[in-house]
Structures are given as structure tokens and as C-alpha cells.
């Protein structure tokens, strides 16, 4: 990468970091302020980013169960290694694919909508209108989205993993794999550690927060014209994916250490 490409990248990273710090500061300092406004906004975003994504997440859980677990179980059984089914399941679905796939669903369905909404609000001058009313735009527009997306990605990931685990066993059962449900769940129980639950919670909440912050940053950070909204949305999608992968890489190190 040339120097001319590195400098804007570093500047963007710095601005994104500053935006994240401002968001966290507002989240903490104004947590008790304007609850009658912020509370319903969090609920609305939870509905959009969480509840309304249940069918799509369930469908992906089924697909994951079929593709990963069904196939892997059948393959491991053929080579007489079906005692590793639990290990594969936890490593692939619980630690990696489940959170990442859920984050992509939330990004596609809700993160992009946030970037479009906020970019349009910025272009139409609604942010200045909020300021004129003494309303902090970060508190009103960003904080509810960050909270809702963090909670949504965590809950949806848990749901996706449960669907994948059950459907995976069903597919294995249909392939006549000699594995009882008790043996299957006992393997999972043996492999899962308490650290998996803690890291899963932290990772998924961070995925949601990264998606929300990156999309809100691109929608709000600088003056926009209405024709710029499409471009900033596509940039926000790319940077959200990069952000989630970077968070995932940090947690990978965490998994290796614990």
C-alpha cells in the first residue's frame, strides 16, 4: 500500500476511535438522562435488529447444522472418530461461525439501514435540528443503536447456535450415524468450558457494538449530500466486516490462551 493510501486509512481509524470514545462517554455519562425518549428507541431498535431477524437467523442455523454438523458428523463417523464431534461443534459453530454469521445477518439487515437512515438524516439537516433543540445527536441517534445491536447480536447468536446444534444432530440422525442424543450432548458438555460462555458473550456484544459504531460514524461524522449516502453505506459495510474480523482475531488469541 502506498503512503497516500496509508495516511487516509490511519486518519479514518483515528476518527473512528474518537467517535467510539465519544459514544462510550455519552453512554456512561447520560445513562440516566431522557429515559422516556431513549428507552423506547432502544426497544424499537431491538425489535428491528433482533426480533425481526429471528426467522433469517433460524434459517441460517438450520443451514449451518446441515452443512457443518451433518457433514462433519457423517465424515468423522466414517473414519471412526465420532468422539471428536463435540470438539468440532464447539470450535466451529460456538466459537467462530455462529457469532460471525449472526454479525453478518445483523450488518446486512440492520447495520446498513442505520447507515442509510443516519446519512439521510445528516444530509437533510436533522442532526443540526437536534442540536438546535439541545438534544445530543450521539445520545439520541447512536447510543440506542449501539445498545440494541450489542444485545441483538448476542441473543441471535445464542439462538443460531441452539438451532444449529439441534438441527445438526437431526441431520446426523437421518444419516444413520450411531450416536445417541445423550452421547452427542455429553460430548458438547465435555468440550464447552465456562470461558466459552464468557468469551462468546463479550465477542458477540462487541460485534454488535462495532457494527453500530462504524455505521453510525459513516452516517453522522461529516456533512453529507443526499447523493453521498449510497457511497458511505457501502464503505460502512466493508469497514464493519473488517472491524468484526479484527475483533474475531483478538478473541482467537484469547481462545488460544485460556
Amino acid at each position: 500500500m502506498s503512503a497516500t493510501g496509508i495516511l487516509p486509512g490511519l486518519t479514518r481509524l483515528y476518527e473512528l476511535g474518537a467517535f467510539t470514545v465519544i459514544t462510550l462517554s455519552v453512554l456512561v455519562t447520560k445513562r440516566r438522562q431522557a429515559r422516556r425518549v431513549i428507552g423506547p428507541l432502544v426497544t424499537a431498535h431491538l425489535w428491528r435488529a433482533g426480533v425481526r431477524q429471528l426467522p433469517m437467523t433460524g434459517f441460517l442455523g438450520l443451514a449451518l447444522g446441515l452443512v457443518i454438523i451433518g457433514q462433519t458428523v457423517a465424515l468423522l463417523t466414517k473414519v471412526g472418530a465420532h468422539e471428536y464431534i463435540g470438539t468440532v461443534m464447539v470450535t466451529v459453530v460456538v466459537r467462530e461461525l455462529g457469532p460471525l454469521l449472526t454479525a453478518l445477518v445483523v450488518l446486512a439487515r440492520s447495520g446498513t439501514a442505520n447507515a442509510v437512515e443516519l446519512g439521510t438524516a445528516r444530509a437533510l439537516g436533522e442532526v443540526e435540528a437536534l442540536e438546535s433543540l439541545g438534544i445530543d445527536p450521539v445520545h439520541y441517534l447512536v447510543v440506542p443503536r449501539v445498545v440494541a445491536l450489542a444485545v441483538s447480536v448476542f441473543c441471535l447468536t445464542t439462538y443460531l447456535i441452539l438451532v444449529a446444534v439441534v438441527s445438526g444432530y437431526l441431520f446426523a440422525f437421518l444419516q444413520d450415524v450411531p450416536l445417541t442424543p445423550a452421547a452427542y450432548f455429553a460430548q458438547l458438555n465435555d468440550v464447552l468450558r465456562w470461558q466459552d460462555f464468557v468469551l462468546l458473550g463479550l465477542k458477540t456484544a462487541l460485534f454488535g457494538a462495532v457494527i453500530a459504531v462504524v455505521n453510525c460514524y459513516h452516517g453522522l461524522a461529516r456533512p453529507l449530500q443526499i447523493e453521498d449516502v449510497a457511497e458511505v453505506t457501502s464503505r460502512a459495510v466493508v469497514e464493519s466486516i473488517v472491524g468484526c474480523v479484527l475483533v474475531d482475531a483478538v478473541f482467537l488469541v484469547g481462545y488460544l490462551l485460556v
Binding site: 431522557a34 425518549v37 437512515e117 439537516g125 435540528a129 442540536e131 438546535s132 433543540l133 439541545g134
Partner: protein
């Protein structure tokens, strides 16, 4: 009219927000309680930018802006928000309403956010504002369903739902029609009689002659005191 200035601009340079180019230079202006200012000028001369700067929404290129005696450049966030709550602003061209909210919710938003007064009174205050703006029948609609003329009224009611001391309006009469002009002049006259300072940016002085008492015009990058015909003194 006398007393401490509510808004004071000292040697202020007004910038174009998009380009950073100076539009009005060396502005020395103050507004005190009960004044009704009309600021005129040709389209594109910087009236809107001047108004936004006077309201503390745009940062001046240079000079000092004081709102209610507070220098905004060094004021804490708490002070800035307290100043904004004492000041209402109505944007031009439809008032920049929040398109995700209904008309009633747009008006109620400042009330709910700042928790102004007793919660039990809020529905009645919103209903009274809707009735005053003749908007009760459209209270449940989103702003995109209204004409620009009605959106501007919603914006005024949103600015007035919390009692203000200064009301700044950017081109409020554009597209208002004869009945609309009378309505606006009535409402703003009422505000002035209760001691609110009104500042209007416009390119047509004529409708305001019956209610305004202070006049200025932006000409050649300068803010100049003028007569009611818009001729600089």
C-alpha cells in the same frame, strides 16, 4: 427596549458551513428582550448562515458569540445545552422535522427529552400546540405527508413547546400564502408580547412591517442597520 443582551456577536465572521468561506465579516450585533428583528438580504448573501451562527449552531470563523451572557467558545457542554433550551430555532424549507416521528411526536420530543414541567401536563401541552397550529387532524401523520407550509408550522410548535426567550426563524413565510402569513404574524406577535425576542431572516421585508421594530440587512459581506424598506442607514 433595554437590558442585558440575550445574544451578542462581537466582531464575528460568519462562515459557509460547507466550504468554510467567509460570508459576513465584522458583525457586531446584539438582541435584547422583547425586540423583533428582521434581517434581510439578497438570496445567497449568508442570512441563513448568519442566523445559525447567532443561534450557536455554526461556529464563527472569528470573533465572540455570547448567548445569555455566556461565551459559547469556552462554555461547558452543560451551559451550551442550557442556552439552547432558552432559544428556539425554526429552519427554512420545511423546518427539518424528524421524518421517523409523527407530527405529534416531533412536537413532543424536546418536552420528553428535557423532561420540562410535570409529565402529567405534557399531553395537554402537545395538544394545545397542535390546536394552535391547526394541526390536530394530522397529528398522527409522518411529516413527509404534509406540505412544506404545514411542516414549517410543526417546526415552530416544536421550537415553542418549551418556553423560549429568543426565537430565530429562517424564511418562515416562504410558500405560506395570505392566510398563512396572517397566522405566522399573529403567533410571532403573541410571542413578542410575552417578552420573547424574535429574529427573522428573510428576503422580503414587506410582510413584517406591522410587527417588527428592528431592521438590518446583509449587503457586501456586512450586516448593516436598515430602515423597514431594507435601505441601509
Amino acid at each position: 427596549m433595554s437590558g442585558d443582551p440575550l445574544i451578542e456577536l462581537i466582531d464575528v465572521e460568519v462562515l459557509d458551513e460547507a466550504t468554510g468561506r467567509p460570508l459576513v465579516r465584522g458583525v457586531n450585533w446584539r438582541a435584547v428582550r422583547g425586540e423583533f428583528w428582521v434581517i434581510g438580504g439578497a438570496p445567497g448573501c449568508g442570512k441563513s448562515a448568519w442566523l445559525a451562527t447567532a443561534a450557536g449552531l455554526n461556529r464563527p470563523g472569528r470573533g465572540t458569540l455570547r448567548l445569555f451572557g455566556n461565551d459559547l467558545a469556552i462554555a461547558s457542554e452543560r451551559t451550551q445545552i442550557a442556552c439552547r433550551r432558552r432559544l428556539g430555532f425554526v429552519f427554512a424549507h420545511g423546518g427539518r422535522l424528524f421524518n421517523q416521528l409523527t407530527v405529534a411526536d416531533n412536537i413532543a420530543l424536546p418536552l420528553l427529552y428535557h423532561e420540562d414541567g410535570a409529565p402529567a401536563e405534557w399531553p395537554a401541552r402537545v395538544a394545545a400546540a397542535l390546536a394552535r397550529a391547526e394541526l390536530t387532524a394530522v397529528a398522527h401523520l409522518k411529516p413527509s405527508r404534509l406540505t412544506a407550509r404545514l411542516r414549517q408550522r410543526v417546526a415552530l410548535m416544536r421550537a415553542l413547546i418549551i418556553p423560549t426567550e429568543v426565537l430565530l426563524l429562517d424564511e418562515p413565510l416562504v410558500g405560506a400564502g395570505r392566510h398563512g402569513e396572517e397566522w405566522w404574524l399573529d403567533v410571532l406577535g403573541e410571542q413578542q408580547q410575552t417578552g420573547v425576542t424574535v429574529v427573522v431572516a428573510t428576503d422580503d421585508f414587506r410582510p413584517w412591517r406591522a410587527v417588527a421594530n428592528r431592521w438590518a440587512v446583509i449587503q457586501g459581506e456586512q450586516l448593516l442597520a436598515s430602515d423597514p424598506a431594507g435601505v441601509p442607514e
